[in-house]
């Protein structure tokens, strides 16, 4: 008989859920879903070792476990703290958490250029979402924002270091997906930057995935750069038989009209990729003929990308006919045959052409 795994009971924002041992608070909260799930800028389920850095997912642990019900003295990073049996976690029900999170968002934004209008990530940017939820309208930061020397990472990937929030995701991705990482963090503190040590391009057939894991617009697709806004594009699920042994070949194509503007890996509801794709699929296959189309991607209705309303849209019924009792509405232009505004006596229908001020002065 297989030994039954003991499930752990955890209460997050007064909702109790049972999870397997070894689950992090963040994953348990995502199981519940909705507002209870803390935002995560640096944690990435698929990347081992990621998380704990951005501090946006801080939560309060009001009771550690059944065995030790003391509260934890500090807020903890939910992405790297495992659930204990009987743990009581407060996320949005804790004022301390909200305050700390607002502080973290402010810290993340003080040196962010906020160039969303020209940023390719706008519309699918996690920092944008986060600042809408937790940010303020104004900033208290009155100093010039940090800038960096530009690094060229080759023909595919564009690096905008000013937008980087130092989540380390791309470093973990390159470490875990490619054989030889060519980029990393140089320097430290507020002058730390993502770069290759001596200007060189990132060349590996899986390196394109760093674009997908980047939560902001620091790493963007050069083949898509300035071509379109993401919310004008229609995401469509497609696949092909990729010859690369590690590539799953399952992607999202981003169409506008007949044209494929970009190819990305498929992302789940938390913005994390489902499976990695190779550079060939991402950068080279931009024709419909290359792909077998599966159907439109389901987009979260809160996402700005859903404003395209191109699939399963329920159009409201036209009610005017009902209101008019079967009568056809007349053209509104016909309503005013006589102007009541200027000179009621003047019959506009007798004037040739559009009415002019001189017509009323006569």
């Amino acid at each position: 008989m297989a030994e039954e795994k003991k499930l752990l009971k955890v209460t997050i924002d007064n909702i109790t859920i049972e999870v397997e041992p070894g689950t992090s608070i963040l994953q348990a909260a995502r199981r519940i879903g909705g507002d209870v799930a803390p935002p995560a800028m640096c944690y990435y389920t698929k990347l081992k070792g990621s998380g704990g850095k951005c501090r946006t997912c801080l939560v309060e642990v009001a009771a550690g476990s059944v065995a030790d019900p003391r509260p934890m003295p500090k807020l903890v990073a939910s992405c790297r703290t495992n659930v204990m049996d009987g743990m009581v976690v407060k996320n949005i029900t804790s004022e301390k958490v909200i305050d700390a999170r607002n502080g973290v968002v402010e810290f993340l934004l003080i040196n962010h250029p906020l160039d969303c209008p020209i940023c390719d990530q706008a519309g699918e940017c996690h920092l944008q979402d986060l600042s809408y939820e937790h940010g303020k309208e104004g900033t208290r930061y009155e100093f010039p924002r940090r800038t960096f020397e530009k690094h060229d990472l080759g023909p595919y990937i564009q690096l905008h270091m000013t937008r980087c929030i130092m989540c380390f995701r791309c470093v973990y991705a390159a470490d875990q997906l490619t054989e030889k990482r060519q980029h990393g963090i140089l320097d430290r503190g507020d002058h730390a930057e993502i770069a290759t040590y001596i200007q060189q391009s990132l060349e590996h057939d899986f390196i394109g995935n760093v674009i997908d894991v980047c939560p902001v617009g620091a790493l963007t697709d050069k083949t898509f750069r300035f071509k379109n806004r993401v919310w004008f594009l229609k995401p469509v699920q497609a696949h092909r038989d990729c010859t690369h042994p590690k590539c799953c070949g399952k992607v999202t194509l981003w169409y506008r009209g007949e044209e494929v503007f970009r190819v990305t890996a498929r992302k789940d509801q938390w913005g994390e990729v489902e499976d990695w794709i190779c550079n060939e699929c991402r950068f080279e296959k931009k024709k419909t003929a290359d792909w077998e189309i599966e159907g439109p991607t389901v987009v979260n209705r809160h996402s700005v990308i859903s404003q395209g309303h191109y699939v399963g849209v329920h159009k409201p019924k036209e009610v005017l006919y009902d209101v008019l009792d079967g009568l056809k509405p007349r053209l509104f232009m016909d309503i005013h045959s006589v102007s009541e505004v200027n000179e009621p006596g003047r019959d506009l229908s007798r004037i040739e052409g559009p009415a002019h001020s001189t017509d009323f002065k006569e």
Partner: protein, 452 residues
């Protein structure tokens, strides 16, 4: 004269060499521990001595040792944290430079207690000349059979390696030190797991300060009871204080923790009073990260009692009216020093040394420095003070490692105790460029505490 345990022989000529050190009774503790005691007995002895970590946090060393996981077949390591980078602290440098064999002796005994066959000394990069001294001492110890295979015929093997850092304050944090020792970028790890379970190369590891490990020698030599008798309460034994700033006799002093702060500053045995006959304005009693205290709160606690140089008394009153023993970097400021400028300098340090891993510390330290620079150079606004307070409040406790706290506390304490100096800087920006705020009321006697 107070009792000296660590620096007892510091003035013996040639103590840096093995022959003199041995002649003066060195390595007796290794003989005693390896021949007559089991590793657990050594750990128990350290536990009983009440020795608290001398690196800054003051965590009981014996307790830390007892947390070390001991799975079968997995090597364990002892790492000596010699990355002493706290501004104001230079006690470990003194120990390593002048008494290298004391540290080696302590390391051998501690390695024996913990079962570490490969022990590392992680030394800060700026101490460029000290690794040579330590390596010479290690070579001498090895020549004379105190290191290597089968030490003293007991079957215990131990090697000590000196590893030089590349010059980063953050590598004094134990998990960052471990990362750096492994050859990686010195970023603190997220705890748990703690180093006692997964440290260097995922093996159980104990990281201890130089002074803590050196203190193991007198504990073994004189016994835990004798060691615990020195000092008061939970502050047992002796502590090295590196005194600096506006005092007549800066240097490293060994104190037993019964002396009052006032005696320490003014007695001729120690600091010898404030230099040039000036008055005491403020003091940071435990290295740059601990809260700064104005003269009146430094010498007496809020309850009106005399403040003593020990863990409990310095921390009396919490952070509202107290400070902390920290790592023993005693920085004295006289009446001519400007607390705003001083705080700005510390902020610049923390901005420069933040590893950049977590957002509050990476962004917050730079922001605080910029605001403080504005205030210092006459461009500040009244709202900046509250903004500073808000920034430090949001850094503190929300970061992976204590560097965030260490950056926030000095700013918080400076505003808490010296707010009027900050306000004066903002209200009279031109005058503030010409002269200092001076002593003002910071040495005035405190109002008597009200009894209920």
């Amino acid at each position: 004269m107070s009792i000296k345990l660590l620096l007892e022989k510091a003035n013996v000529p040639g103590i840096i060499s093995y022959e003199v050190y041995r002649r003066e009774g060195g390595y007796a503790s290794v003989e005693k521990a390896l021949r007559n005691m089991t590793p657990d007995q050594v750990t128990d002895e350290v536990k009983k001595s009440g020795l608290r970590g001398r690196g800054g946090a003051g965590f009981p060393t014996g307790l830390k040792w007892s947390f070390l996981a001991k799975p079968d077949g997995v090597p364990r390591h002892l790492v000596c944290n010699a990355d002493e980078s706290e501004p104001g602290t230079f006690k470990d440098r003194y120990l390593m430079e002048f008494l290298p064999h004391l540290l080696i002796e302590g390391l051998i005994v501690s390695s024996f207690a913990l079962g570490s066959h490969h022990t590392y000394i992680y030394i800060r990069g700026e101490y460029a000349w000290i690794p040579d001294i330590l390596e010479k001492a290690i070579a001498e110890a090895k020549e004379n059979g105190w290191l290597g295979k089968n030490i003293l015929g007991t079957g215990f093997d131990c090697e000590i390696y000196v590893h030089r850092g590349a010059g980063a304050y953050i590598c004094g944090e134990e998990t960052a030190l471990i990362e750096s020792l492994e050859g990686k970028r010195g970023n603190p790890r997220i705890k748990p797991p703690f180093p006692a379970i997964k440290g260097v190369w995922d093996r159980p590891t104990v990281v201890n300060n130089v002074e803590s490990l050196a203190a193991v020698v007198p504990i073994i030599n004189y016994g835990a009871e004798a060691y615990a008798k020195i000092g008061i309460g939970k502050s047992t034994g002796t502590k090295l204080i590196s005194a600096c700033g506006n005092i007549n006799k800066p240097g490293v002093y060994e104190i037993d923790m019964t002396i009052s702060v006032e005696d320490f500053i003014y007695s001729d045995e120690y600091c010898g009073g404030i230099a040039h006959g000036k008055k005491l304005k403020a003091c940071i009693p435990g290295g740059s990260s601990v809260p700064i205290l104005p003269a009146n709160l430094l010498l007496k606690t809020a309850k009106g009692e005399k403040r003593l140089m020990n863990y409990e008394s310095l921390a009396d009153g919490g952070f509202a009216t107290g400070s902390s023993m920290g790592s023993g970097g005693f920085i004295v400021l006289d009446e001519d020093q400007c607390v705003v400028k001083h705080t700005m300098t510390l902020s610049r340090f923390y901005r420069h040394e933040s590893c950049g891993q977590c957002s509050p510390c990476r962004e917050g330290t730079g922001w605080m420095e910029k605001i403080l620079k504005n205030i210092e150079y006459g461009k500040g606004k009244m709202s900046d003070i509250d903004l500073l307070w808000d920034i430090q409040r949001r850094i503190e406790g929300n970061t992976i490692c204590p560097l965030g706290d260490a950056a926030a506390w000095p700013v918080a304490a400076a505003i808490r105790h010296f707010r009027d100096e900050f306000e004066w800087h903002i209200r009279y920006p031109e005058e503030a460029q010409q002269r200092n705020f001076g002593l003002a009321h910071y040495a005035d006697p405190l109002p008597a505490p009200q009894s209920a």
